[in-house]
Subunit: 361 residues, 2 copies
Amino acid sequence: MKNSAEATQRIRRTPYTSRVDAAGVSSYSVYNHMLLPTVFKSVEADYEHLVNFVQVWDVSCQRQVELQGVDAARLAQLITPRDLSKTAALQGKYAPLCDERGAVMNDPIIIKLAEQRWWLSIADADIKLWVKGLAYGLGLSVKVFEPDVWPLAVQGPLAEQLMERVFGSVIREIKFFRGASLPFRGKEMLVMRSGWSKQGGFEIYLNDFALGEPLWDELFHRGEDLQVRAGCPNQIERIESGLLSYGADMNESNNPFECGLGQYVDLEADVESMSLPALRQLAGRQERELTAIAFPEEIDLSKSELVENGQIVGRVTAQAWSPKYKEFIVYAMMETVRLEASSEVVINGLEGRFVPLVRKA
Amino acid sequence: MKNSAEATQRIRRTPYTSRVDAAGVSSYSVYNHMLLPTVFKSVEADYEHLVNFVQVWDVSCQRQVELQGVDAARLAQLITPRDLSKTAALQGKYAPLCDERGAVMNDPIIIKLAEQRWWLSIADADIKLWVKGLAYGLGLSVKVFEPDVWPLAVQGPLAEQLMERVFGSVIREIKFFRGASLPFRGKEMLVMRSGWSKQGGFEIYLNDFALGEPLWDELFHRGEDLQVRAGCPNQIERIESGLLSYGADMNESNNPFECGLGQYVDLEADVESMSLPALRQLAGRQERELTAIAFPEEIDLSKSELVENGQIVGRVTAQAWSPKYKEFIVYAMMETVRLEASSEVVINGLEGRFVPLVRKA
């Protein structure tokens, strides 16, 4: 989509859409039935600014699925193989959601607001429907709904400085993936140190549509000398940083071990999770794995198969030029047997090498 | 979206995308995580052609949710208040899906392929997730999945003629909302007399990606003298015809009585449906109703509320200029009390009148 005018009742605008338009967005995508800005100046220019300054992102489409009631905690645990038993109030945990076969249904941040109130801060799929179906079928005492909450992310190395100017010094005390309930114009809302980049930053879970423009304007007013700009999740940055995109890098045909999410599967945990029995069987047996491959040149993406010596050895899920590593980085779901054979690969006559999704600095 | 190049792994291309591009599509939307063409020449020109000739529509995004197993029929019935007990094999029934509160979750065509094999041919929402959750929670013996099927619609007054040339005279024997399993290039696929227009036509449930371009090409080759063109669901035609768009005209905040879908709620049926108990309570008590309003001029859609004498009396869901009735038709969810008061309405100083969603010819 080139502009927000193409939004309809079916594809929703956000509290910030008028400001995103005014900031010169050049393209939107659709995510969870909502507008998601994808480019402002260019993916490259947006990246350069993000890694040096601070950006404000309209990520309203990162919808919340709220579980509320006496069975809320039980239901949250049931849908993920990650142990949630020690989650503190206002703590978020990145966690795959998995079904009874161990398939990855989504990869939200699960946020505990209170013992009987949890949010799934979701990637692109109507997870509310799955959770609603489970709750009804299992006869659980829990309300499942999408609250009126529109996250605004503030990302980049100067994010903390800007957030402090708007919300006060309490911002510095918020640890990674922890939140605080902070007032803006008299209204309390969740503010968490999180976001879909590795440049540092926060997400403000705006809970009043009418405060969207004032919040946006305040961030821009206070951040003028920090060169604050409108931005959005950036394909280059997320690939350099090893962040996964559900629906692109992985989907329901994958289990978490294939996606490098094994560290979020607590195989030994004594918790009631619908996927753990299946995942205990699948652990260590994956026949394919998501990995990154570094190439000196761009790979043709018109065909997603990676072919080496006439054999399909993997399937590309994403690609970007990395200014940091000075090479193209391709994400691919690779045959495990190929990964184990050699760290070099030759695709379309191009020599590449496997690199970790997340590299040490 | 202006072009299919913006498709990603997350927003899927279809077997016909290259042909849709070549046919000069001018805009795409995203529907069920897939590309949906929305305009070719212009909404008006596309309409004029549709009501006079025959068009081929890429409606691959009308995904199928397949229920397969001994509990398939039971599950299909559970999620809709429409009585499915007398559904014949290869018969489709338009039916609201409703949850335990009677909320409309979707409005698919439910197709019975066989006693233990049903399809939900869905509108824009991940209904598979809801049905999967229900099946697991209730411990039903049924597999729920999205099969590899990409519907192609052939719509317009000359559709039958064109379809007969490709599939043979058996086409004429297919009754409305009935199907037949017919071969194309040796592969059997479901062909049904149906489609999201009231100009007559068929939907071909293509089940082999590789046959997408050959099928498209064959329809264009055989239909040259019928002036066949690429088209897509048309906003003018669907509004003139009283067809509803889930996510726009109605959503989970509505019950079927509010949406004019009462005729598909079998209150007296002796079937196991999760919504019927709630719907029996709600019947005849709706406080708002979807209706059409005819205006001589266009209504400003920047605000969706319809205000009359300072009072909000309804909310606009869609609008189009009708070449057939020579007036603007607005779809609105109106307060029942307002609807009952008078058939005239004055909005923004414009005099309008309530008209039936579906008018008699």
